[in-house]
Every structure is written in C-alpha cells, then in structure tokens.
Amino acid sequence: MTELSSNTSASLASNVGEKRGYWSRVGRDGRKLGKWFVAPTVALLIFIVIFPLLMQLYLSFTWWTPLDGVPWYQAYESFNWGENYLILAYDPAFWAALWRTAMIMLVAVPAQFFLGLGLAYLFIDKFPGRKVFYSIVLTPMMVVPAVVGLMFFLLFQGTGPVNDSLGLPASFSWLTDPNRALISVIIADTWQWTPLMFLILLAGMLGVPSDQLLAARLLGGSNWQNFYKIILPRMKSVIAIAIVLRLVECFKIFDLIFIMTSGGPGVATETISLFLYKKTFADLDWAYVGAVGLAVLIVLSLIAAFGLSRVAKNKG
C-alpha cells in the first residue's frame, strides 16, 4: 500500500512535472508564437508612427523643399545642422501663432469647462423632457467643424444676424477686426465643444455614489457643500481628462478658423495649425514645417503628460 502509494505519488509527481514541463513549453512557445502574431501589427505601428516621425526629424535638419526637384530621401544634400530649430527659436511669426493658440486655449477651454460643468449639474436629476434637452445640448458637437465655421462666418458678417439682433451697425465688423475676429473664433469653438465637456463631466457626476450624496443630504449638507465637498473631489480624474482632451484639441484648432477667417485679418487669428498649413502648402517650406511639427509634438506631449500625471496622482 505504502509502496503503491509512494509509486502513485512518484507517478503523479512525474505526471505533474511532465504536465508542468508541457505547459511551460507551451507557454514558452506560445509566447514566441504570440510574438509572431503581433509582429505585423507592431511593424505596422512602427511604419505609421515611428517612420513619419523619423522622416520629419530627418527633413527638419535640412533645407529641403519640394521645389528642389530632388526626392525627400536625398534631402541630406542640403543638410543644415539644425538651423531650422534656430530659425524657429527666433521666428516671430511662430511665437505669435503660438501665443494666439494659447490665448484661444486659455479662454475657450475654461469657458467650455464652466459651461459644461453647469449644464452637467443641471442634468444630474431627472426632469420632464430631459432626453430631448440632452439631445439638443449635444447637437453642436455632432456638426462638422467646417459647417460650424461657415455658420459663424455668416452669423458674424457685418450685415449678419448677430449685428442685426444686437442692433449693431453693419460697419461693426467681427471677422475683419483683429481683436473681434479672435473673440468670434473663441465663441464658435465654445459653442461647438461645450457639449463634449458637458458629456464627459456629466458621466463623471453620474459616477459619484448616490448613497454618499444621500447621506450628506441627511446630515444637512447644502447643495453647494455636496457639490464642492463630494462631487467635485470625486471628479478630479474626469475633469483632468476632459481638460487635457480639450486643451490638446484646442491647440490643434484648424478647420473652424480656416473657414471663418483663414487666419486673418492679417494674421490675427493664425494659430499654430494655420501657421503650419501656410508654411506647408503656401510657402512649401517642408523642412521648416518638420521642425515646427516636432516642437508642437513636444508641447502637446508635455500637456498630455502633465494632465495624465494629475490623473495618476489622484488615483494614487
């Protein structure tokens, strides 16, 4: 019996060992196989992400333009040791475009945040027609930005509905006045993207446990205290994500401005994207665009990294 059992144990152990060895082999081979399975995707990712970046980096160290009459891979013939980055550092047009972009971000995103937050708070509780209003509030977000651009282009004409309804003369120009043109763009962007802020923030608010809110109410907490002490702290991550998302999108704003003002009057509404567009297709200065593009990528990465670190910190 003992012998039997020891044999059985040995046999079992041996079986288990074999099985472990088998699964270990399978695991090892499987991991190898898995690597082969994902290899095409990784290769594709490298091709569509890394390759263009390297190409951009390469071009940014040259004077190459399509007017050179040589293909881009021969750009090394006009290698310039990073002079584009030096030009970029002292290019007033670039810094002015960056400043205008920052202005739009700093005004439009907070406006969208507070409006979105207010709207989201209104939509926490059920009320008659909530679904209909919900759809109405979300509508601007669904409109193609180019169409929004056209709508606001027409609205802000001297003889357009905005001046008519405000009783302003036709000579009160929105889109051809350098300051008012930027304001018009911010208004249009806020109109379109407040709903996205609203949607994200509403999702965050609805995620706050209702029992906590109920308990706070029972303990005599006011609406403001509930909002400030319970809802807002629990939404920090959502808020950070919403703001980062909008900041990054706002940094890239293009179609709206392109339709409304084309960056004008003069360069009064020329943002980084329009600056890049002009340098790419009007000036055909593609090497310089490579340098600006990389600088922009770094700025956006820093914004995103900062926002996401805040999210991680809150979770931690």
């Binding site: 051809t176 004008g264 360069v267 297709f281």
Partner: protein
Amino acid sequence: MTDKTSQQEPTRRAFLQTSTAAVAATGLGGLGNFIATPVFADGLAAGMTGGPTGFEGAERFQYNGEMSEGRAIEGIKALQAAGNAPQKIRILLPEGTIDQLKQPFRDGATAPIDVWTRETGVEIEMVGAPVADIFKKVIQDVTTTGGSFDIYTGPWNSTGDLVASGGAYDVSEFVEKYQPDWGDPERGLPTQELVKLLYTYNDKFYPIALDGDFLTWYYLKGIYDKPEVQDAFASEVGRELVAPNTWKEHDEIAKFFTGKDFGNGTMYGNGILMSRFWGLPSFYMRLASMDTPNHHFFTEDGEPNLNTDLAIQCAEEHVRSLEWSPPDALSFTFVEGWSSLWNLQVPSICTYTAIAKFGDGNKADGSKKSNASGLMATHNPIGRKHGDHINRRSILHYSISGWVSSTSQNAEAAYLFLQWLSSTRTFSLIMASPTGYLDPMQQANFDEPLVASNYQQYAMETIPYTVARSVPGINFGGQTALDNALDEEIQAALTGQKTAKQAMDAAQGKWEQIIRRQKRKGIVEAIQASRKTWPTIVDPI
C-alpha cells in the same frame, strides 16, 4: 507658332449644304467609335477635317490638317500608327471647369471633349479638384512621384514652383514640331511678349494657357448715367461722372458713392477686392502704375522693390481705399465681390471677366441674371498720369494653365491634347459655354459672336485692351511664399496693426530673405525673364 497656310473660311452656303448630314452626324454621335470618319466628316464644312458639328456656326470652330487643332489630331494619329498613343489621358482640373469641356454649350452642339474623343479615340479622364486646392494636389503628386496624371492644371502663377519641383515637362520640342496657333496675330495673342508671358518660363515652353484672368474693370454704367447721380456728383466733385482713367479719379468716385443711396440701398464706393489672397492683385496693379512705364516689383538685379517712396505711397492709398469698401470687404472672396456689384452695392470692380457671363443679361427663362443685368459695362484699366500720358495697368493673376506632367508616360500625346484644347478654334468653342470659369484671351475668342453673347459685346474690345496693358503677377519659384509675405503685411496695414510704411518695410525684408534662399534655384534669372514680359504701352491723356 502660327498656321502655316491661310485659313480656309467656309462660307455659310457651304455649311448649309452639309447641314443635313451634320444633323445626321449629331444623331449618330454615339456610334462614333464604330463608324467614326464617314459619319462626322459629313457634318464638316468643305475643306475641314475635324471640329464640332450640329449647330449654326459650327464651321467657325472646324479645322483641317493645316491648322493648329488639325496638326494635333494628325499628331495623335501618327502616334497611334506607331503604337505610341495611349488609350486614355488623365487630367487634373478645377471642378468648376469640367462642365465647360464636357457639356455641349447648347442642345445639339458637340461638347469639346467629345469632339476630341470622336476624332482620336483617346479617352480623356478628367479628375476634378477644388480650385483653391488644386496646386496642393499637384505638388502632392509631384513629391510622391505618384504619376497619377498626364496633365496638371492650376494657377499660372504656380508655374515657377512646378518647374522648380521638376513636375512640369518642357514641351518646347513639341511646340516646335506641331506649331500651335497661340501666337497667330490674327487669331491668337497679339504680341510675342504675351505668348512668352502665358506659355513660357525661363524661355522654355511649360504652361499652356487655358484661361485669361487679366483683371478687367466692370462698372454700373446704368447707375452712373442716372441724372440724379450725375447731378449729385457734379455738385460734390465739380465734374461729370464718367468711368475713371486714374486711381485718383477712382478714389474720388469711391468716396462719392460711399454711404449714398440711389434707390438700391446704401452703396460703398470701392468694389475692388481687399481681402487676403483675392485682394493682392488689386494692390499689385495699383503698384505697377506708380512709375512710368512701370513700377516693377523687383529691380533688374532681382532685389525687391517694395519699400520705395512710391511703393509706400501706393500702400497708403490702398489702405485708405478700405474706408470706401463694404463692411466685410476684408473677408470677401471674388464671389462676394461679384455679388456686391450684382446687388448694386458697389459701383465698380476689377475682376475676372466671367462676372458678366454669370451676372449680366438674361437667363434662359427670360428673367434677369442679377440686379445688375442691363446696367453693366466695362472700362479701360486705370493708371496714373505721368506727364502727358497715362500708364494704364492691370494684372494677370491666377489664370488656369495646363502643364504636361514630367512623370507622364504619354508626354507627347498629353501635349497634343493640350495643343488641341488651347488652339484658337477649340478654345473659342469652350468659351461659348455658359458654364465654367475658363475665360477668353485670344483674339479669335473676342471675334466670336457666341463668346460675345456670353461675355457681353461691351467687353469684347475692353478685354484685349486690358490684356495688352497687364503686368504679370509673380510666377517664379517661391511665388506663394513671396505673395503670402506681402499679403500678410498688407493685411496688417489694412487692419491697423501696422502703418503702410512698416508693412512695406517688413514685406521688403521678407522678400529679401526668400530671394536669398531661392538664389541658387535661379530666381534672379526668372525675375529678369519676367520683367521682359511687362508691357510698356502708355496712352495719351
């Protein structure tokens, strides 16, 4: 360059004798590929071997092997016989021009492209692109060596950029071989300078003109002639109100009309475009007339000429004229500019000649095309008095041209198609179309009644007069960068962000920088070649 033999003008009687056959030919057009020669040839006037049929006056557009179009057709047939002709030629075109080539100008007529296909069997595939984006697509195709097209089209101003990029084929050998009639003094452009301007770059043939965007002055003569307008002008300005000859007179008239209502709502006196891109030629033509015979944009050495006293004075005048413009003038494209005139909001505009095609006269149902129908007229380009003469100046700006792609496997066939399309008979047929924005520029176009019915008889003398006095816009490598740099500064001055002097100084600096960078690509030589195409005509006061 010109027809080698005198043109054989068919008589109306000869045409009538063959009209029955022409009708039959039109009806059987769909069978053209099977029984091509016998059917459509019956619709041709005596001595003609090709061209449109099926409408009264078709003989004026027909040709034979002695003519430019005929040589192109025979060239294709020779290529076919040698097995070197393609089945299809692919062309990138602005969307708004496709119907002008593809649709018959009236029922029963033959569409230009159908004539080509019928006679050669070579299919033309037209790929449309928005006019504002077309050159971006061209450059994309060139830089990716896509080779998607045999023929590119786009703004004439982009010729230098395309040549520099290596995207355009030098067609000089084909021009020599097939002798187009572009420079025929009777039917084509009146001077060799104009041929050089529209068809060459750095003394080689690259662009093939398919458009005549020589900005021409249109004004509301019907309003000028109103007694109450005449009286008001006389009492305010102290002279008779007539079409202006000089910028000074233009500005006086602009000031007079601004804020007044002559029964059509408040008017603004300055109708010329002032906005970014569209307003730039307005500035250029004013600048060109600042000196006699011209104020060039560059010196003979290729140095920018933007911060001279005269250029600064010009910028100041240009900026001042904004106060007489409609409130949103800084955001107007040419469409809003046209609408302003059609809605009697401005008294005049200097623009593309299709403004009359789309806005004057009556529609097919007899209704007016616009409020300006019947009130419009043209006047000569305006300039500046210098001693006992005026240097009237306009500008060639945009103007769609065709280029044979350097990557085309069918360069000769592509050229032959372009020669056929741009020769004076076919091009006149294209101009007969009520659609599209390819505009006339050849003498044969202006002599053609069907073109006159579109573009209005009153413009038929003014346009060639304007053509002869037009300076070229910038068309050498770096053109877009140069235009943008100046444009930005002018807009900054117009919006009060800079004074005219600051703007012109800044533009001068930017241009110098661009020229420095482009020097190794032969920009100075291109500037010198361009200067040679400037007109020197001045007119007595």
